[in-house]
Every structure is written in C-alpha cells, then in structure tokens.
Symmetry: C2
Subunit: 304 residues, 2 copies
C-alpha cells in the first residue's frame, strides 16, 4: 500500500499579476518524484494561487519545503496587493490524509517537521493551525491571520501570539506561514425553493449552533442570484463525524417549518468517495457494510 | 493512467480435494508482473475454485492464458466430481473493465484473443458468452454449460452449438471453456419485514419482468432462515443502466402493496464505488455532479 497525503499550499502570487513568479512555483511543484501537481487555481483579484499536490508523505514534506523556499526567494510581501487576506509569501500549508493508512496525527507530525525546517533553513516563522494547533484559538486560520502581513510585526509581540516555530518577528519579505493538518473538506451546498435569504440564514445559523454534535467549519445562507434562490452553503470538515446526510436531513426538517423544500444540492470540487458512500449506506439501509473492504477502488489504490 | 481489467477465472479443482493442483494454479496466477491475485475462493463440495485477478489488459490476457494452460495440464475432467455445474478444467473466464478508460468492448476483444490462443496453442475450444456472445442464446452462461462436460461431445455436434473458437469436439481432458466480457456485478439483497416468502418471490418476479428497462441477471425471493425474514436477492449486472436505487425504490413501492417494509439491505462482496455514489447523488439531489472528476479516489487511481 502506498500512503498518500494531500497538500494544498496557498501562495501570495497569481498567474495574472506575475506569471514568471507563478511559473517558478509550478516548476518547483513538479520537481519532486512521487508527488503530482493535481490542480492549480489562480485568481488575479485575490493575487493568490492554490496548488493541490498529492504524494507520499516524504515527497509531500519535501515539495512543501521547496515551494516555501522558492516563494520566499521570489515573492516580496512588502509589495503584495490583493483582495484576499494573507500574511506570508506562502500563506498557508494544509496537510490532509488521503489513504486510510495515513492519520491526521501523521499529518500533524509532518506539519511540525516542515514548520521547523522553514524556520531553521529559511528563517520563516509559523503558526500551527487546525489539528496541529497548540492552543484552541489557533485552530482557526482566520484568527491566526488576523492583522495580515502588515500587522504581524506588532501581533507577534503580543503575549498570546508568539509563533509556534521561530522568533517573534516575521521574515522581512516572506512574512509568516500557517501550517497544519486537517481532515478532507467537502464543500456541500443545499438549494432551497425560496428567494427568501433569511430562511437560508436562519437554517445556517441553526445547524451551526446545533448541540447535536454537528461540526462545520462554515455554514452560511447566501443568494444564488442567477437562479434567484437561497442556498445554505457548508464546508463539511469532518464527513465521518457529521455525514452529508445529517446536514441534508437537518436542513430538510428545518426548511419544512417554512414550507420550503430542498430543490437540489451541489458538491464543489473534490470529495472523498466515502463521504458519498456513507450516504448511500444510510439511504439504502445497507447492513454490515465494510467500505474499505468492499469498495473495489480502495483495493485498486492499495494495489499500486 | 493505468488501465485495469479484472479477470475471475473458475477452475474445476479445489484446495480441499486436490491441494497440489490448486497450489500450482495459485503459483501461475502470481507469475505475471503487473497482475495481482486479489482473492481466491475454493469450495470442496463444489470442487471448484474462483480466482480474482486485477492488472493491465496485456498482463491479464497473459495470465488468463497461462492459467488455462496449467489447468489443462493438471486437471482431468474425466475424473472430476463436484456439485457445481462445469464443462472444462478452466470452466469460465470473465473479463471485467475496472477503470474508466477500459470499455466492455475492450474486454470483448481480450476475450476473443484469449479464446483464439487457447484453441491455437492448447486445442481447447470455447464459447463466447455475456457481452462477447455471438448470438443471443449464448449470452447466458448456464445455457452454454448445459449438458456439462459429459454431455458436451454430443452438444457440440448440434447445429446451433459449434464452438465460437475451435472444432466441434472437446479437449479430451480439459473440456471446453466459456470466455466473455461483462460489466462489474453488484450482489444486492433487500430484506423485508415479513416471513412470507411468497411476497419476496412476487416482488422478485415483478422486477425481473419489468418493462421499465430494468436489467438483472437474477432476482429471486429467498428466506433468510436465521432471521426468519424474506429477502429479494439480486445480481445487478449493469449498475449504470439500472442503479441500485431503482431496485430499492421499486421494491419499496411493490412491498408497500403488502403492507411490508424494507428493513435493511446488503451488498455481498465487492462493489465499484460508483454504484453507491450514484445512489448518494440521487438521494441527496446533487446537481451537476461529475463523478470521475470530483471523486478523489479516481484521481488517486489515475496517478499511479
């Protein structure tokens, strides 16, 4: 079995604004055998790009470090302009387990090794966030990044905001990086047959605030302007603890109170198969199903 | 992307009755690089074993031929005794596409090349069955096998039963083999909250006979003695044409007529992820879902 880890580093540069620097990062992303650059997203107005890499734990650690190094050599945060909040040339590096023999704990260890190395070799400090966080308030990326690049020198001097690795000062041009491990996210949106945004907002608030053990990174009500319908938009951060069908059935029940129905849903981007297979298992009432043993694709992945 | 094909050859020997011959086949199954012997089932009363192999199309063709050769050298059908119907030392060789870039048509071509080779080199004739069949009545394996090893010399002389490859006479000790391509099967059973077997039989009959385009190799009503409940047992032969949720919802509707509910279901053995993901897509009303692009595991398989 080959262990696979996903890494989704975000850099403060875009193909649109600086194609040469952007291409330099793409080249580095392709430089480590056993790691595949799987997807690249770039946004000019954000002046930010997001790489999706998958590979062996060792390969992913190496490519994450090399990318950080390249970004620190080619991106100058003192000159960076973009709409997206950011605090470093390499702004954030999440590590996500992708095969069943890799745990979040393994990814936490990876994040700490990479954080140590980028301090030791590049003098870039870092916060550990998400499941790597050393204190509860650092789990949230937005809390770590608050103040952004410009506010970081002062923030790092506050009692509670010493970096997890490195001294209390940013790298002069590369800033500071958030590094952490997390479970795969599933972006799951539920469309309602109403143009009343308040209903979607109320539902989002109710499921966020649920005491039933629901766990979403984010659940908000938004308008789908082009279809004139309201949507509950969620990031499912732990689809094993809070399956998609929990969210679907809870929203269905809450919407019913308003006489509103679910007219459709969407999954944005990638999802692990199991997030959907668990739903089939629920709706088809499948007994004694052993997903990793009975689903062929897991064996195909294992065989390689 | 690596193309993968599954092959599930059945041999007229068992570990229980003749461990030496059985082991010889296992050794051959492991002899082709790029092919993995994934599962072995052996049944002493049937005196039969089933290998599950997955590998590249070229590797699978080669291992299928080598296994046929080894079986013809070590199994003597004139001495074979077992409860399961059989007509050859290698009784049947199905080829099943397992990655999205391999089609059933590719597997049909594989089946024909292997059939030609075992005639040319081993003088074992064969029938092409399932999606490789050259006439409708040969799609069904049981129809091909009717008469079994002992009845084959006479059957092959009948006007309609010339082998697809080879002359109208069996190999004296290896008999004749059925070779064909098919889609992956999903064995899907639905349990009813009744001890009335007739209800399960009626439902099975109704869905078999459906004019709604349903396609099952088999749908029968059976008793689950240990739980004292009736079950509709199905082999879904084309889960893309007839998804599992069609079967589930149809059985639910038909059972309702008797005041009977579905209390659970089961999937026996392996299933492709997509057979279940399609169900999640239906029940969660997911719009515009592109399974092969959005499900991570397909990319993990592609990457290898």
């Amino acid at each position: 079995m080959s262990k696979l880890v996903e890494c989704i580093p975000n850099f403060s540069v875009s193909k649109e604004v600086d194609p040469v620097v952007f291409q330099g990062l793409v080249d580095v992303a392709n430089s480590v055998p056993g790691c595949t650059l799987f997807d690249v997203q770039s946004d000019g107005s954000h002046n930010r790009c997001v790489f999706t890499l998958i590979g062996s734990p060792e390969g992913i650690e190496e490519v994450a470090f090399r990318l950080c190094k390249k970004a620190s050599e080619t991106i100058d945060m003192t000159k960076h302009v973009g709409q997206h909040p950011r605090m470093g040339a390499t702004d954030v590096i999440p590590f996500v387990p992708q095969t069943k023999d890799v745990t979040v704990e393994d990814c936490v260890e990876m994040s700490k090794r990479v954080a140590k190395r980028i301090w030791d070799e590049l003098q870039i400090p870092s916060f550990l966030y998400e499941d790597s966080a050393t204190r509860p308030e650092r789990r949230n990326l937005a809390a770590c990044r608050k103040g952004q690049f410009e506010g970081m020198p002062e923030k790092l001097l506050q009692e509670d905001w010493a970096p997890d690795f490195g001294e209390r000062k940013i790298h002069p041009t590369a800033g500071i990086t958030a590094i952490g491990a997390r479970m795969p996210l599933v972006a799951f949106n539920v469309n309602l047959d109403t143009d009343n945004l308040e209903i979607a907002k109320n539902i989002a608030k109710a499921i966020r605030g649920s005491s039933g053990g629901f766990k979403y990174r984010m659940a908000v009500g938004i308008m789908m302007e082009e279809r004139n319908i309201a949507q509950v938009s969620m990031n499912m951060v732990n689809y094993e603890g809070t399956p998609l069908y929990y969210a679907y059935e809870m929203i269905r029940a809450l919407a019913d109170r308003y006489g509103v129905r679910i007219i459709g849903t969407e999954i944005v981007g990638l999802t692990p198969a199991k997030a959907l297979i668990d739903c089939a298992e629920y709706y088809l009432k499948i007994e004694n199903f052993h997903c990793h043993e009975q689903v062929l694709e897991y064996h195909l992945i294992d065989m390689k």
